[in-house]
């Protein structure tokens, strides 16, 4: 069972209320997305830590229903 872009966005938004989020469906199969997430929550954190926060927001879906999420994260400039 694949995921919808809106569902991914909603889960990330819930965890990062201040975030601006862009989701791109890379292949139209509901399995391969790219996401750019900009949030103050990432400030001062390593890339690994930033991505781990997003994976937690996806509550275990990453690597399961969601096969691929090319993730770009940063704090607001």
């Amino acid at each position: 069972m694949a995921m919808q872009a809106a569902e991914i966005e909603a889960m990330i938004q819930e965890a990062f209320p201040d975030a601006t989020i862009e989701i791109e469906d890379l292949r139209g199969d509901g399995d391969h997305y790219a996401a750019t997430v900009v949030s103050q929550a990432f400030a001062g954190k390593s890339r690994v830590a930033q991505h781990q926060l997003v994976y937690k927001a996806l509550k275990g879906k990453m690597g399961g229903e969601l096969h691929a999420l090319a993730l770009t994260t940063r704090a607001p400039a």
Binding site: R47, V48, H51, Q52, Y55, G60, M62, G63, G64, A68, A70, L71, T72
Partner: protein, 114 residues
Amino acid sequence: MSLDEATKQRITKEVTDNEVVLFMKGTPVFPMCGFSAASVQILSHLGVRFKGINVMEDPAIREGIKAYSDWPTIPQLYVKGEFAGGCDIMKEMYMSGELSQFMAEQGIELDPAA
């Protein structure tokens, strides 16, 4: 994501005994997934010698590595025993030049001509 003690020790040994380890799907010569293939290419371009571990042949490692690093996907790069990221982060660091700088800081020999 489960991680039994025996698997944890096996992973620890691999990332301790080898300076650079890539837990991947397939092998460096025959990667079985686009992200693993991209990661191998990046390391090869930098001329970094690394050990590729094929998680497809080892279900305990395939699941255990995700709990070990608290990272839900494969491939996973380890440098000097520390988790350094998956394919996204490797790409981003490679494009910005940070990856070669990071490797140099970790005392990893780069041989771009390789």
